[in-house]
């Protein structure tokens, strides 16, 4: 049986009645694609890395899933998991920031909006940061800034490449100017990493906007994006208000950025690990060439002949 038939069979055995359908979606057994409406058995969707089998729509994946998609099994070592956000400004909008932190931590079981660590990708060492949109829209505050900076600094020390999977609405307003300054802090660490001729690849996923776009998301030696992700600096609504007219349909998408020269390649999620590993392999420092070494005796022999 082909994989396609297998999926087709799975679908046929799906919930028959509408009530059953609703219940099983709610249970998480089945997932409805927000792009084409197709119902897929969640387990199958997961094994296809949350890419819709019908329309290739890339559904959101969270940091744990992303790490296991990219890193070789049993090689991931998380770092700085003990960094927690605090509320330095005593910020309160409709809710206090400290309450928001606590509630989000309980709901997501994350400490903040990024996970960082060292692992292997097709047996190549890699420093990986993965942002998580569930944690206050992936917003960047002091913890995100510190964890990414430490990750990059560690990569510089260990002479290994950095990959950051971006998913963020931008700077975290609840930490005020401390958040804005993280943009500079991370960029400074990337300057040092780059000056050691080490490779950095950001992967832009839906959505990558604001202060993240205006810092590490756009500083890759090579920049990859997932299909149809929203990527931009200013919010679409702000741009619309500035122009007072409708924007093109594909405005601020991966495809739009590729067309305008700000992204190197759009890589479907199912090929992301392979593409990253390929790029890292191609950029590894060249080993001393055995060809050159073996040609030395020949030169010697030649010069000896010439002397004779």
């Amino acid at each position: 049986m082909s994989l396609f038939d297998w999926f087709a069979n799975r679908q046929k055995s799906g919930p028959a009645t509408p009530e059953g359908q609703e219940r099983e979606i709610a249970d998480g057994l089945w997932t409805k694609c927000e792009a084409c409406g197709a119902l897929t058995y969640t387990k199958d969707l997961r094994s296809n890395q949350m890419v819709c089998l019908e329309c290739d729509h890339h559904m959101r994946v969270y940091s744990d899933q992303r790490i296991s998609q990219l890193i070789d099994a049993n090689t991931w070592v998380a770092i700085d998991e003990n960094l927690h956000p605090v509320d330095p400004l005593k910020f309160r909008d409709r809710k206090s920031y400290s309450d928001r932190i606590r509630e989000t931590q309980e709901k997501t079981r994350l400490t903040d909006a990024v996970q960082t660590g060292i692992g292997q990708i097709e047996s190549l060492p890699l420093a990986l940061g993965v942002m998580d949109f569930r944690f206050m829209g992936g917003s960047m505050g002091s913890v995100v800034g510190e964890k990414l900076t430490r990750l990059i600094e560690r990569a510089t020390q260990q002479h290994i490449p950095v990959v950051i999977v971006c998913a963020s609405g931008g700077a975290r307003m609840q930490e005020g100017m401390l958040s804005l300054m993280q943009m500079a802090k991370i960029s400074g660490a990337l300057e040092r990493h780059q000056s050691h001729r080490l490779l950095y690849i950001p992967v832009l996923t839906h959505p990558t906007t604001g202060g993240v776009t205006a810092s590490f998301a756009m500083l890759g030696d090579i920049i990859l994006a997932e299909p149809k992700a929203t990527i931009g600096f200013a919010g679409r609504r702000v741009v619309e208000q500035t122009l007072r007219e409708k924007l093109p349909e594909d405005f601020q998408t991966s495809e739009y950025l590729l067309q305008h020269g700000f992204v190197d390649a759009i890589v479907p999620r199912t090929q992301l690990k392979r593409s990253l590993a390929q790029l890292i392999r191609l950029h590894q420092p060249a080993a001393p060439s055995s060809h050159l070494v073996s040609s030395f005796p020949a030169i010697k022999a030649l010069s000896k002949t010439a002397l004779d």
Binding site: L178, M183, S187, A214, F233
Partner: protein
């Protein structure tokens, strides 16, 4: 400096009681002259009260009121300061990529006989000028022009002085198309690479990433009534309070004043403004700026290129507040 004396003052709401008092002083003086009565005693008293009132008003401004001062149409602009503090100045144009953004000005100059590079965002002085300058909102070409000039300065060992005065980077369609994010990001990284001393001063308003795009330096100075924000209070109120009328609360909560940023370890030095704000005595504000720049430059001159770059790195490296629990 740039203002002709006949132009009527532009009043902020909280300045109105002061303006009323001042116009009363003028009235009394005119009346006294007409009727040949000596009222110099009364006038002196009223003038003292006016000065006191001015001091009171400007020493207790709310963050949003400070923002109004920072955005005051008569507040000295980047070009005003450049002209006031330089012995020589020649503006240079273009990003060498097809654009010359009028919202960013820059050029070579000399201050106290020392060659430097000066650059900053430039707001307009009236509506027409503001449209030309795009209200000081730089486009990607503006950030690339700034970077091109800074690299020039680095090659010729000229210290870089930047002046921040922008509501933010331009949020237009053309700006997105030309890579506003990339242009700012590139400057953030490359400013860490430069060998020459860099002093950044927030002279007006520092609007988010658009300000930071020329704001990575060895020293960050800020005028007393300037503000520097991660997002405008209006935008923050609209997003977090779902009500843009809550801008006042947002401005308080965001900690945008010079004193706040000094406390957070972001700012190195607050520059005192003349009573009534920099626009009430632009030349005095320029003197303060010049003194601070020269003093900071002399300190930075003591360091090697390597030491300065390390200092710049550590300055930003240490910004952030978080908890680190023991595992």
């Amino acid at each position: 400096m740039a203002h002709s004396p006949d132009r009527r003052p532009i009043l902020l709401d909280f300045e109105k009681p002061l303006a009323e008092l001042e116009s009363r002083i003028i009235q009394i003086r005119e009346l006294a002259e007409e009727n040949e009565v000596d009222v110099s005693g009364e006038i002196r008293q009223l003038e003292e009260r006016a000065l006191q009132l001015r001091q009171e008003i400007f020493s207790s401004l709310s963050p949003l009121q400070r923002m109004q001062v920072a955005r005051h149409p008569r507040r000295p602009s980047t070009l005003d300061y450049i002209q006031a503090i330089c012995d020589e100045w020649m503006e240079l144009h273009g990003d060498r990529g097809g654009h010359d953004d009028p919202a960013v000005v820059g050029g070579v100059a000399s201050i106290n006989g020392r060659a430097v590079l000066m650059l900053g965002q430039q707001k307009g002085r009236d509506t027409k000028d503001n449209i030309t300058r795009n209200f000081g909102m730089a486009s990607p070409g503006g950030y690339r022009k700034a970077m091109r000039l800074m690299e020039h300065a680095d090659r010729f060992h000229m210290p870089i002085l930047t002046f921040i005065d922008t509501p933010g980077a331009y949020p237009g369609m053309s700006a997105e198309e030309l890579g506003q994010g990339e242009a700012i990001a590139y400057n953030l990284r490359e400013m860490f690479r430069l060998d020459v001393p860099i002093i950044c001063t927030v002279v007006g308003e520092g609007g988010s990433g658009g300000a930071l795009g020329i704001g990575v330096g060895d020293r960050l100075l800020m005028f007393e009534h300037s503000v520097y924000t991660v997002a405008t209070p209006e935008a923050c109120a609209a997003i977090l309070w779902k009500d843009s009328a809550k801008a006042n609360q947002a401005a308080e909560a965001l900690k945008i004043t010079a004193a706040d940023l000094k406390n957070l370890g972001i700012l190195d030095e607050i520059l005192a403004e003349p009573i009534g704000g920099a626009h009430s005595d632009p030349l005095k504000a320029a003197e303060t700026l010049k003194e601070a720049i020269l003093r900071n430059l002399a300190e930075l001159d003591q360091l090697t290129n390597q030491q300065r770059r390390e200092l710049r790195y550590q300055k930003f490296r240490s910004i952030g507040v978080f908890a680190e629990t023991t595992v």
